[in-house]
Amino acid sequence: MELILEVKSLSFSYGNGNIFEDVFFSLERGKVICILGPNGAGKSTLIKCIAGIFKPSGGSVCILGNDTSLMSNGEIARCIGYVPQQNDTIFPFRVLDFVVMGRTPHLSMFSSPQQEDIRIARESLKMVGISELEDKVTSNLSGGQLQLVLIARALTQKPSLLLLDEPTSHLDFGNQVKVLEIVRKLAVSGMSIMMNTHMPDHALLVGDNAAVLSCNRMMLVGNVIDVVTTKNMSSVYGTNVVVREIEDMARKVCIPGSELPLYK
């Protein structure tokens, strides 16, 4: 299998102490890796280091065999699409105008998007199933729709790797499932995806691989089935967690293990 992303002994620091260090993992074409870990473990920081937003303090990130520290912002953005957790756009752009901004790395400094760029943007909207939102205004969208618009914008970059920073965190149950379905669909079409999530169950649903970032380090990396286990999850989250096979669905689920105290 073709190696898309290779992260070697990566570390990052804001100036006083490493947020994380010695992070190793790699990702093949069409595979999904889910990064798990407690709050504040540095999952978002890790994604931003890979996206080229932050400059790592050590180690290397290679995309399609090229070291990102030797690439310009534009070159990175042609290979890596970044989907932020939230978007706080000040100006309410039309959805199509917003999504076409994904063409930025392919356009020279003084040029504006052409017909072809708009066609690619429309294609991305279709891919995530929101073609009908094209003429809506971003400030009028629901959280779920906005998340899909952000994914569409990243797809418009035509990247080989998609980075999703907790794509389901602000969404209702139905929209969470919808986003996960799209993640799976994109992976099947050959996209490599790295996704941060707070829900080990989401890793079981869409992940091929999973990794745990905790205590400044990548504690576990591997097959999702090997990483998301009762023992591992209980120790990572410091609470009783159970991973069970649901037999009639032929899949595993991850749920809280202990009885919650009931105050009646």
Binding site: G52, I53, N73, Y82, I90, P92, F93, T104
Partner: protein
């Protein structure tokens, strides 16, 4: 969509209609027919290189009104395009062209010129130089500070602006109260009453350079307005492009301020009206702000020279009309940014 293209055509044609209209307007009465005659005769004379005896009507039309009309168009478009650019780069719809202390810097330069030299050209030159100087101070402060992002530039602008404002007060304090002080006060309120063709050339040059670069970069400002992290993830070299935009917008503002004095509100209100009309996409918003700013200031200047027996400073009219207009827009709640 149909509606929108009608709006666009109207906005682009409006300045030309207003130019013709403004030629007829003024305290000195000229017959409509003789304005038309003068225009036709002068065009012929110009075309065939004939020198005609100069009538009073001719002087008023082409040496007083026309340069003023052109200056109003240029200053209005300069302030508007600078305002709309700053609003995008600083991701803040409440930012004006004077955000980096350019207004106070230029004001101080002009005051110094009035106090020490009393030559129109030197006053303009000093206004221009100190306007740019204020910006360089602000950018330098923003660059060396440990903070990142655009907020440090805004804070640096406030600091620089405040220093120059107190220097203006100092100059006012030592100025001759019968001669220099009124001139300083009048300059600070903004006016186009003394504009000549030489001033226009002087303004047009930096305006053309600055505005051209800004218009070329207009689509990138969309991407910058998404915020630093997202713009970076989309492959934009944000530090460099932000600096270029700030430089150009300041250049354009300094040039405008140096010939007109400080005219507030135009650079804030016009981009908002434009955003209301055509939306926030800079591809369209920026050229529309440009032409709308030209029309707006020309109309304001027509008012300034007709509503009273004496000339009323432009800054007063733009605030008197601009502020309530802005209040009305906020009430309408269709600002295009929330």
């Amino acid at each position: 969509m149909e509606n929108k293209s009608h709006t666009l055509i109207f906005l682009y044609v409006l300045p030309f209609v207003l130019i013709v209209f403004s030629l007829f307007v003024g305290r000195y009465q000229i017959q409509v027919s003789s304005v038309i005659d003068e225009i036709i005769i002068s065009s012929y004379a110009l075309l065939y290189g004939i020198h005609l005896p100069v009538s009073t009507d001719h002087t008023v039309l082409f040496s007083v009104r026309l340069p003023r009309i052109i200056a109003a168009l240029l200053v209005g478009s300069a302030l508007s395009i600078a305002g709309v650019s700053f609003q995008g780069v600083f991701r803040n719809p409440l930012v004006s062209p004077y955000i980096l202390g350019v207004g106070s810097g230029a004001g101080f330069g002009a005051c110094l010129g009035i106090l020490l030299f009393d030559s129109a050209l030197i006053i303009q030159l000093l206004a221009f130089i100190f306007g740019l100087l204020a910006m360089f101070f602000a950018i330098f402060m923003g660059k060396v500070s440990r903070g990142t992002g655009s907020l440090v530039f805004v804070l640096a602008g406030i600091i620089v602006g405040s220093i120059f404002t107190s220097l203006i007060s100092l100059v006012k304090y030592v100025a001759d109260p019968y001669d220099e002080l009124p001139e300083i006060v009048f300059w600070l309120m903004g006016s186009l009453s003394t504009v000549r063709y030489e001033d226009i050339v002087w303004l047009a040059f930096p305006l053309v350079i600055g505005a051209t670069v800004l218009l070329l970069l207009r689509w990138r400002i969309n991407v910058l307005s998404l915020g630093d992290e997202e713009a970076k993830a989309l492959g934009v070299d944000i530090e460099r492009i932000r600096l270029v935009i700030i430089l150009c917008a300041t250049l354009v503002t300094s040039a405008a301020v140096s010939i007109s004095g400080i005219i507030g509100w135009v650079g804030l209100v016009v981009p908002h009206i434009a955003r209301m009309l055509v939306g926030p996409n800079y591809s369209i918003l920026m050229p529309v702000s440009f032409v709308l700013g030209a029309s707006f200031l020309l109309l304001v200047d027509d008012l300034a020279r007709t509503i009273a027996a004496t000339e009323i400073p432009l800054g007063i009219i733009t605030s008197l009309f601009g502020a309530p207009l802005f209040a009305y827009l906020i009430k309408r709640g269709r600002l295009g940014w929330n």
